[in-house]
């Protein structure tokens, strides 16, 4: 399918409007140039596309299903709610879509070592998985705070053969894991490819990661057409860095009748400082190699974010989201920890699907949106991940654990 140059889908970076670019040490420019060049070649190489498609079919489990959830939707104004089931992918989230693409690219470049940052651990697990599959050395950087609240994913990564580095600098969360991964990359760039996990970072990552994730929306657009005979009124997703949201939004960017809604982590409420609502409360700035929106103080020091969900606990966001917000094509709204946890429990009890806490933000936002759009509307939600990794958090939050029981 050819894309017209004035299409919103035609953006290839380095800039999306005023956002994007490369704000990196000179030492990394050669590697970013190499990655860009190799990716441009891979994009037009039918053999690359064929290998990735076959991996997605036989390994990831694509295409992922869509599931309509009427019992859940009854709590959302009666709108028809349809879930895109990225939670059913191998490794449990959408992250594998991007990782397999980038690891195939690593193979093309001829590097034998991959590094990655991870927050919730989903991107780290996906990278460790792909590294095991392709026999690559793998080091995952994870903030110490996150290694504690996502201990199960640390064990998964180690079982897969990856080294997990617990990052003790700064706020000891995702942003600091990215800093340390960048420091590793600056030092070992000759042998190492950085498998970046989201649509942020320096060019080419925002465009490339989006391209590897856009399969979500391309599948879902057709699936919803097949199921309902029309396009949805709205497409929703949670937004941390924003890869699952860009993945499902992209196919709909040129469908003006389809509203696009990203739900950010409102944490304990956006009145205070304990949230990660970057697009709602942030200002333009440079973080991790790109100009985008970010949470920062007056001096441009990054402000620590907060979310009950490690995957959304990030003070930046991808530049394409900042651009879509600036032109009004997509709307970004905060969802609090409490609202997300209520939605997590509601989907579990009404539909037998336990979502990741990240994805539960999209679910909570969708219920409110459904009440506004009404019973004739159709809303497509990206269910970006499953909740297995969050059982310790949910168990404590809802007091589900027997006293004295040894959990995890």
């Amino acid at each position: 399918m050819s894309i017209e140059p004035d299409s919103l889908r035609a953006q290839v970076g380095p800039y999306f409007g005023d956002f994007g670019g490369r704000f990196v040490p000179e030492s990394l420019v050669a590697a970013l140039d190499e990655l860009s060049a190799e990716y441009e070649l891979a994009k037009v190489d039918p053999a690359f596309a064929a290998e990735l498609t076959e991996l997605h079919r036989s390994y990831t489990g694509r295409p992922s299903l869509i599931t309509e959830v009427p019992r859940f939707a009854a709590h959302g104004g009666g709108a028809r709610i349809i879930l895109k089931r990225e939670d059913l992918n191998h490794t449990g989230s959408h992250k594998i879509n991007n990782v397999l693409g980038q690891v195939l690219l690593t193979k093309r470049i001829g590097k034998k070592r991959v590094i990655a940052e991870t927050g919730a651990g989903q991107h780290g697990v996906a990278t460790a998985t792909a590294a095991a599959l392709f026999g690559l050395d793998c080091v995952i950087y994870m903030g110490e705070v996150d290694t504690e609240r996502q201990a199960l994913n640390v064990a998964r990564m180690r079982l897969l053969g990856a080294e997990v580095v617990s990052v003790t600098t700064g706020s000891r969360t995702l942003k600091d894991a990215i800093n340390d991964a960048m420091r590793d990359w600056v030092t070992n760039v000759e042998t190492t490819n950085y498998v970046f996990g989201t649509v942020a970072g320096p060019h080419p990552f925002p465009a490339m990661v989006r391209d590897f994730q856009k399969i979500i929306g391309e599948e879902a657009r057709q699936q919803v057409l097949d199921l309902t005979g029309r396009l949805p009124d709205a497409v929703t997703a949670c937004v941390g860095g924003g890869s699952n949201a860009m993945g499902i939004f992209h196919a709909f960017l040129d469908d003006p009748g389809v509203g696009l809604y990203g739900f950010e982590a409102g944490g304990e409420g956006i009145e205070g400082l304990r949230h990660a609502a970057t697009l709602t409360k942030g200002r333009p700035g440079v973080l991790h190699g790109a100009r985008s929106m970010m949470l920062q103080d007056e001096d441009g020091q990054t402000v620590e974010s907060h979310s009950i969900s490690a995957g959304l606990d990030y003070p930046g966001v991808g530049p394409e989201h900042a651009w879509l917000a600036s032109i009004g094509r997509a709307t970004y709204l905060p969802v609090t920890d409490a609202e997300a946890m209520d939605a997590l429990r509601l989907l579990s009890r009404t539909e037998g699907i336990i979502p990741a806490i990240e994805s539960a933000h999209a679910l909570a936002g969708t219920l409110e949106l459904g009440k506004r759009l009404g019973p004739d509307s159709i809303i497509l939600v990206n269910l970006s991940g499953r909740g297995d990794k969050d059982m310790e958090t949910a168990g404590r939050y809802f007091d589900l654990l027997d006293a004295g029981a040894q959990q995890l």
Partner: protein
């Protein structure tokens, strides 16, 4: 990229200092210290002390929350400075206090977001007003630096861009053309911190920078001893020392860091015949 030579008529004090050291048969010693560490006052006193003990050019770092080029020693210092309440305005105050006491040129090393938030033009004006000579920008490459190229031109400030062993010849030409003061040759692929050997990549990089037209290539990353300073200055115009000074300050206070500066400076003199 553009190859247009936009170097202006005025003489950079940094470049003049480098030229003078070369003419005297040595090279320039550039000393890095983070502002606000261990306290703002002590960082000012330390900068003055190393300037009075043989450091030719001061590189003063603005503490930043996400310093991707910095190793553990400098990170620990800047984390402490921020925890102590360091604000950007203190940076300008410190530069003014230092330049009032010594005539050593002062470059400020800063990541890009603080400049962006302060306002690029306002930052340039306030730095010039404080007596600062310019900026070293570790995460700003000339490709994305138009606002800084314009502001530094207008305010008459130096701008030091980095060159790396991995940079293409084209990019080295760009770094040389767009930099003023000197070009910061990154000695090794990596981050700040003392190393037992200065990478042989540094010598190759400086040779390539010469071929790209540089007359002031200064080498940084990993230099911590007088012997390393001497070795680097056999082929480069300046040697940049950072983590070693910060460690001396953290361990032994102002007296210790002043002593180290004097030792390092002894490595920077009488390397070849004066001209």
């Amino acid at each position: 990229m553009t190859n247009t030579d936009i170097r202006p008529a005025f003489t950079s004090t940094v470049e003049a200092r480098i030229n003078a050291r070369r003419a005297a048969g040595g090279g320039a010693l550039i000393g890095y210290l983070p502002l606000g560490f261990p306290t703002l006052t002590e960082s000012i006193d330390t900068a003055v002390a190393i300037a009075n003990n043989g450091v030719d050019i001061l590189e003063l770092g603005l503490p930043y929350s996400d310093p991707v080029m910095d190793g553990p020693v400098i990170q620990a210092a800047t984390v402490q400075a921020l925890a102590n309440g360091f604000r950007l305005k203190h940076g300008f105050e410190a530069v003014a206090a230092i330049t009032a006491q010594v005539d050593t040129p002062v470059l400020v090393m800063t990541y890009w977001n603080p400049v962006l938030q302060y306002g690029v033009d306002r930052f340039a004006d306030d730095l010039a007003a404080a007596g600062g000579a310019g900026l070293i920008t570790p995460d700003l490459i000339p490709d994305d630096a138009q606002s800084w190229l314009d502001a530094s031109e207008r305010a008459g400030l130096d701008r030091v861009f980095l060159a790396a062993p991995s940079s293409s010849d084209e990019r080295l030409v760009q770094a040389v053309t767009q930099s003023r003061g000197f070009v910061y040759a990154v000695s090794t692929m990596g981050i700040t911190g003392a190393r037992s050997d200065v990478d042989s990549a540094a010598r190759v990089l400086v040779t390539r920078l010469r071929a790209a037209g540089s007359t002031s290539a200064c080498v940084g990353l990993g230099i911590s001893t007088p012997a390393q300073v001497r070795e680097v200055l056999e082929y480069a115009d300046g040697a940049i020392v950072g983590s070693a000074l910060v460690k001396a300050l953290a361990d032994g206070g102002v007296a210790a860091v002043a002593r180290l500066a004097a030792e390092l400076a002894s490595g920077a003199r009488d390397i070849r015949a004066a001209v």
